[in-house]
Symmetry: C2
Subunit: 242 residues, 2 copies
Amino acid sequence: MPIRSLADRVSDFLPVTAAERSALDRLGERERPVKRGTTVVRENEPTGDLFMLKSGMMIVYTLLDDGSRQILRLVFPGDLVGMAVLAYGKAAHSVMAVSDSVAAFIDRTLLAEVAYQHPRVAMALVALDQTERAALTDRLAAVGRTSARARIAATLLDIRNRLRRGDPSIHDSFSLGLTQEEIGDATGLTAVHVNRMLRQLEDQELITRMGGRVTIINEAELKRAANHVDRQEGVDLSWLPA
Amino acid sequence: MPIRSLADRVSDFLPVTAAERSALDRLGERERPVKRGTTVVRENEPTGDLFMLKSGMMIVYTLLDDGSRQILRLVFPGDLVGMAVLAYGKAAHSVMAVSDSVAAFIDRTLLAEVAYQHPRVAMALVALDQTERAALTDRLAAVGRTSARARIAATLLDIRNRLRRGDPSIHDSFSLGLTQEEIGDATGLTAVHVNRMLRQLEDQELITRMGGRVTIINEAELKRAANHVDRQEGVDLSWLPA
DNA sequence: CGAGTACTTGAAAGATCTCAAATTAGGTGG
DNA sequence: CCACCTAATTTGAGATCTTTCAAGTACTCG
């Protein structure tokens, strides 16, 4: 269970002064443990909070009229959730913990005050949010224009990469953390078809599986299968005025 | 061809002072006409500019390895494009004008300076960006979890609503502004199937068509067909500290 | 008026879903 | 630690939706 502070996350791409760091640390003070299966945020419910995930894993999703669910985003430690409360007075989407987690809640008023006092930090948070948006557009392109097999391959690689961000010791083997139904809801497929695609990737010897664990045994080929446009994740804020 | 300034757009949901308005107006000074069919921004090309569309219509899209295209966003007057340059040094996606347009380009350094001096304006721009993100998640949910018919219905309603934002005289009848191929690239369908779905909606007397014009003749039923979760677009920044 | 682009339609192939049932894995109370 | 109970996974068969391929028609622009 990796744990990262907001300041750590921001300092990955922006040198932060002591004052900025302490302001960021103050934002992350309100920590709360969340049990697996708990709905943390319900779509359309009024709220003034956003939060950063400290440890565990969550999903952001929306429910359609007919009861079907679209998972919009997988949330890993260090990710910021609910920036939309800056624009709306209510939650734009639902959020559920898929493993035991810890979240650090942030009041939007407090966030705004920090942003007013530390504009560079504000820009850093905007940049962080932009990386989420990029992930969202990648997912849309995958769901709209790639085969089921490619979507599953891409999802496996995505999960592996994001787990690795929090735990560099992870290489080819990792625990999925999602049910096949959840993977389906993230990729626009049924659970049954997710299962078939996983089996196919296994039969083709791109991965092996044991329990909930996946091991990538042919990463080059899996990447090719994923139709993966390798987004150079390089956030660059060096241009920011002082 | 409706034309809106950034200041007008922002003042829809945030009272702006004279100083703030003049700062926003300064941002929008660098106008440039763009001919239909012109690629304004190419994915991955280095740039420090974003822009606001003043008039016309554009699409934001990404191309996959196999040449297929996913349209991520339709751009109407008043929309801000390319906020990702705040995080990356290059364009996250390609942008093409689908009708003769005028764009007001904004250097990110200038934008950052305005944001530093006018934090409330900065928050307003962030809020504007959040509304775009909400539209993106709606599109993802539609592509991932709804039928071809529903996606087409939703797209028709979306285009009508957004055209109306710039021209309140528009009611049920409007020009699509997109080819069926483009609608397909936006909804994750083939042009052929888009055509069939339009025909079906016409046969079912939810719409009529003439040339590139669509008229909605049964809006209630079209909304139902769209599986539409009516997002109350109410941006609310009243909570913002002074 | 001609050329190219966009639209339209049919028929067949292919991908994915639905339904159903069997198997396995994980979690809990005794 | 076992036995049980439920949730998750797995597999097959058939139905459905969407794509592909092909060809003809209608527009639009120069």
